[in-house]
């Protein structure tokens, strides 16, 4: 795949703590103006002998599934010395108001739009998260943060106690703060009873569908969010397995695999994707590469892909798109 460095992206991207020796706390970008929906850019890193994709994911502010799906031909446990690993650090912003916290469950990613201080430019901060597994789905809807707890005590609900007991692994009624506490060092209680945004004592599980419905973050991520967010901040829990958005004259599509509880549908329906694309092109004209849609949905690698040709510059721009080979057989249609 060819790396595309969009000048607009470069101008908008303000990556604060990328690729230091310590894990990335957050990917922070200047909030683009309304009408521009894509932030960041795809990047690469070369694996060291001792690396796993889980290590690289954490160091890069990514979740496990994100990095595995972006690197389907690489062994997650033994990538190998010098192997080039794609970092899918480009995102179409979810279709939701750009305020407070937006959690996109299918994407397993949280977006935080902090209120800018006087004279500051607005920013968006994004973190990988874990969400609820099968039968423990993370709830959707509008909620808010009702309290913040440092070094939280975990009191597992009866349902979780019963599940662990049935598995022969009974839990205590109260888990005090410490290394065995699955909430980690910080927790944000939501107004939906029993649901939290919290840290973890198993950071390797971030970016997977493994929780009882809570939103789990890397320890360094929850600490940064905990310190930044206030009680009362709105939290929108949405499920958008595909996202459509503009960057300049280009329309991007980002598709994520369906979560396990939705897997009985096997494949993401193309109809809502087509509707979303048509909706986007009502406000701005574009020639859509419809012929690529099926393969993008099939791949569902979570990386934004250009699905339009620039109306102002024409087909010559194809050479600068990510999938030039695919573009050779395009069927160009006007919506």
């Amino acid at each position: 795949m060819k790396l595309v460095l969009q000048p607009v992206v470069a101008a908008l991207s303000v990556s604060l703590l990328m690729f230091s020796s310590t894990p990335v706390f957050a990917q922070t970008y200047a909030l683009p103006p309304e009408g521009t929906d894509v932030i960041g850019s795809v990047d690469y890193v070369y694996a060291k002998h001792e690396d796993t994709l889980a290590d690289i994911a954490r160091d890069s502010g990514l979740g496990y599934e994100e990095i595995v799906r972006s690197n389907p031909d690489i062994d997650p446990w033994l990538p190998g010395e010098g192997v080039k690993v794609v970092l899918p650090t480009q995102y179409v912003l979810p279709q939701a108001p750009r305020e407070g916290i937006v959690v996109n469950v299918s994407e397993m990613r949280l977006y935080y739009y902090p209120k800018p201080a006087q004279g500051e430019l607005p920013q968006v901060v994004t973190y990988p998260i874990s969400v609820g597994r099968v039968d423990w789905a993370t709830p959707l809807g509008l909620t808010k943060i009702v309290s913040k707890r440092k070094d939280p005590t975990w009191r597992p609900p009866d349902s979780i106690l019963a599940e662990h007991a049935a598995d022969g692994n009974p839990l205590p009624r109260v888990v005090p703060p410490g290394p065995d506490n699955p909430l980690g060092k910080f927790a944000l209680n939501l107004s939906i009873p029993g649901y939290l945004i919290h840290g973890t004592n198993k950071p390797a599980g971030v970016g997977m569908q493994v929780t009882h419905g809570c939103i789990r973050m890397y320890p360094e991520s929850i600490e940064a969010l905990f310190l930044s967010v206030d009680v009362g901040v709105k939290v929108r829990l949405v499920d958008q397995p595909y996202k459509v958005g503009w960057l300049g004259d280009a329309l991007y599509l980002e598709v994520h695999a369906a979560l396990s509880q939705n897997a009985d549908t096997k494949k993401l329906s193309k109809t809502p994707v087509v509707k979303a694309i048509i909706g986007a092109t009502k406000v701005r004209e574009a020639s859509i590469e419809w012929a690529r849609l099926a393969s993008i949905i099939e791949r569902a690698d979570g990386m934004p892909v250009t699905i339009s040709l620039s109306s102002s510059e024409g087909p010559a721009d194809i050479e600068e798109t990510q999938d030039f080979e695919d573009a050779q057989e395009l069927v160009l249609l006007k919506p």
């Binding site: 446990w77 874990s130 597994r133 699955p182 198993k202 390797a204 599980g205 997977m208 493994v210």
Partner: protein, 105 residues
């Protein structure tokens, strides 16, 4: 073989003619001797050719047998490789599921 038959027929005709006409002429006798010699040589050539053909048939049969054995070995190796690949994929899947399970609360 056709040549051999023709030469044999000519020799037979010459011998018969010699017997019928008394073989008094020296050239005719010489011609008959040459024809006989040629027929003998042709017969020897035919025998050699038959032997060579039999040998080639045997070699081809052996080659076919060797090829069949090689095909069986290749099929067995493919089957083993396929089984190993299935096992590897199953292990990867198992590892992935164990990892995810271990990451649950």
């Amino acid at each position: 073989m056709t040549k051999f038959k023709t030469v044999s027929k000519l020799a037979a005709v010459a011998i018969t003619a010699g017997m019928l006409f008394g073989c008094s002429h020296a050239d005719l006798k010489s011609a008959i001797a040459d024809a006989q010699s040629t027929a003998d040589a042709a017969a020897a050539d035919a025998a050699d050719a038959l032997s060579a053909a039999n040998s080639a048939q045997s070699t081809a049969t052996n080659a076919q047998s060797t090829a069949d054995a090689a095909q069986r070995d290749a099929d067995a190796a493919y089957s083993l490789a396929s089984d190993a690949n299935d096992c590897c994929e199953a292990n990867t899947d198992r590892l992935d599921r164990m990892f995810k399970k271990s990451m649950q609360k």
